[in-house]
Each structure stands twice: as C-alpha cells, then as structure tokens.
C-alpha cells in the first residue's frame, strides 16, 4: 500500500484504535518504509509532549459548590433582567411626564421648545443607532460563528 494511504492510520495505530487487520497492515508497512517509520516516531514525540499537558486539579470545595454557584448565577441574571426592565420603564415614564409638563407649559418660549425637541430627538436617534450597532456586532461576533 502507498505511504499516503497508510499515513492517516498512524494516528489510529498510536492510539490503539485500529482493528487487528489494519494494525497488521500498518506494522508491515512501517517495517518496510523508513519514511513512515520516522513519521511514526515524530507522532510519538508529539503525543508525549501532549501527554504532559496536565489539567490543573481544583480543590474539592470548588466542586462541592459548583451547582450552587451556577444556581446563583442564574438567579442573579433573572434579578438583573427584572431590575433593568423596571429601571427602563420607570425612566421612560419619568421622562415622558417631564416632557409632557414641559411642552404643556404655555410660559415656555417656542424657541426653547424647538431646541429641547431637537435635542431629545437627536439623543434618541444616537441611542437607537448605538444599540443597533451593538446588536449587529454581537450577531457578527467572530468567534460565535464557529460551529461544529
């Protein structure tokens, strides 16, 4: 068999993932082919290096509190969402009432009304633009698009 056909089996050979027949075929090829034998040695070295990449062990306390930490995170996230909704609604209502009184007041000069109206409209447009840009950035985040 040609080297190119055998080479991908070298990984399976080292990992003990080949059936006996394929394993024998690889062994026979390696005996005859110094190039593939050298490549097998290189693969062994790489596996040896990767074998040294131990995962750091964490103290037991981290695992005992794992579930409660997740539960707290979820609970807090719900809390923050509700709090944010409340703040947004209250602020919107407050701003609406403020504007209502401001524009309903006949003593406010027309120029001031136009200026405040333009200023408010500008702030709203800028805010909407920023939010839209942020949403676009989140949707097109480089690493969230990498799928299986």
């Amino acid at each position: 068999m040609k080297c190119e056909k055998i080479k991908p089996y070298l990984a399976g050979y080292l990992d003990g993932e080949l059936d006996p027949k394929t394993r024998q075929m690889v062994e026979e090829h390696i005996r005859k082919c110094p190039q593939c034998a050298a490549e097998l040695e290189e693969m062994k070295k790489i596996r040896e290096v990767l074998g040294k990449m131990e995962t750091e062990k964490l103290p037991d306390i981290y695992w005992r509190t794992y579930w409660s930490n997740i539960y707290n995170r979820i609970e807090r996230a719900i809390g923050w969402i509700l709090l944010s909704i409340g703040v947004i609604l209250l602020s919107a209502w407050g701003i609406f009432q403020m504007f209502k009184q401001f524009f309903a007041d006949p003593s406010v000069p027309i120029v001031l009304r136009i200026a405040v109206g333009a200023l408010s409209l500008g702030v709203i447009i800028l805010l909407v633009s920023l939010i839209r840009e942020r949403i676009f950035a989140i949707k097109h985040e480089r690493y969230t698009k990498i799928d299986r």
């Binding site: 990767l50 695992w63 794992y66 995170r73 480089r142 990498i146």
Partner: protein, 173 residues
C-alpha cells in the same frame, strides 16, 4: 421552567462539570478562568434548555458552547495583551525546583499557543483526544463526524503541531 427540567439540568451539570472544566482548561490553560467558563457554559445551556433535543447529544452541544466561550475569552485576552505590555508572561526561576516548574509551565504555554494556531477542526481533535483522552467513537459523536475522519484529522493535526513545535522541542527535548 418545570421542576423536572431543573432536576434534569442539575443531573447534567453534575455529570459533565469536570469534563467541561477540562475542555475549557485545554483551551485557556488557567484553572480559575476554565472554572468560570465552564460555569458560564452551563448558564448558557440553561437559557436554551427548552431548545435542546436530547437525541443531538448533550456533550456535542456543551462542547460547541465551551469552545465559543474559550475563543471569545482568548480573543479578549489577545486584545488586552496588545495594549498591556505587563501581561506578557515571564519566567521566574529562583531555585532548581522553581526553574524546572517554570520550564514545564513554559513548555505547556508554548504547546498551548501552538494548538491555538491550528485550524478549529484540528484543535477539536487534539483537545478531545490528546488532552482529554476521549476515544474516537466519543469524539465522533461530539463533533458529528465519522470516526475515520477523527483519525485522519488527528494525523494532520499532529503533523501540523510537530511542524509548529519543531524549533522548540529540538532545543528542549
């Protein structure tokens, strides 16, 4: 959310928490960050729990979330490192043990950096087979590819890794 779902979710957390931590650690190489990312992943799982179809395999889903969270973290870290010169790791060798430990740590850092230079497909097989010790069949289920493809990807991934590490290990092994 029904209490049955909460119970099921808790069981999945308990059964996969160590694995999630190990996968995250393989990418980020820092225990506290890996722990935090593994928890973030489970919170994401919870948010989309109703959408999950059990027949798709939980680890496949969890792995995709973990990998994306790790990539985002590494990307943020890379951006910070570009602007903060103090964040560049340096070795402190005061005695023989510390020196050896620092060298091991340096080796792990170099290897991790090399792994991150591989394509995402190659990273997947190296992380799952070589760093987490999974069998080809398990990796095949997680990645949704045939076991034969796992083997050939692993071969090309290791070969690429050998090229990337050539200079380093000629001087150190």
């Amino acid at each position: 959310m029904k209490s049955r779902d909460i119970q099921k979710f808790r069981e999945l957390v308990e059964a996969n928490k160590h694995w999630a931590y190990e996968v995250a650690f393989s990418f980020v190489g820092d225990s506290m960050t890996a722990y935090d990312i593994s928890q973030q992943a489970f919170v994401k799982v919870w948010r989309n729990f109703k959408k999950w179809k059990p027949q798709t395999g939980f680890r496949a889903w969890l792995y995709a979330i973990l990998r994306n969270l790790c990539y985002s973290h590494l990307e943020r870290q890379r951006r910070r490192a570009e602007t903060d010169i103090d964040s560049v790791p340096h070795l402190a060798a005061e005695n023989t043990d510390a020196e050896k430990s620092a060298l091991d740590e340096e080796m792990r850092r170099v290897v991790r950096e090399a792994i991150l230079k591989l394509s995402p497909e190659h990273q997947d097989v190296i992380v799952l087979v070589d760093l987490n010790g999974l069998k080809y069949r398990e990796v095949s289920e997680i990645l949704g590819i045939p076991a034969g493809t796992v083997m050939s990807r692993l071969y090309y991934a290791r070969r690429r890794l050998a090229e990337l590490l050539k200079d380093y290990w000629e001087g150190n092994l």
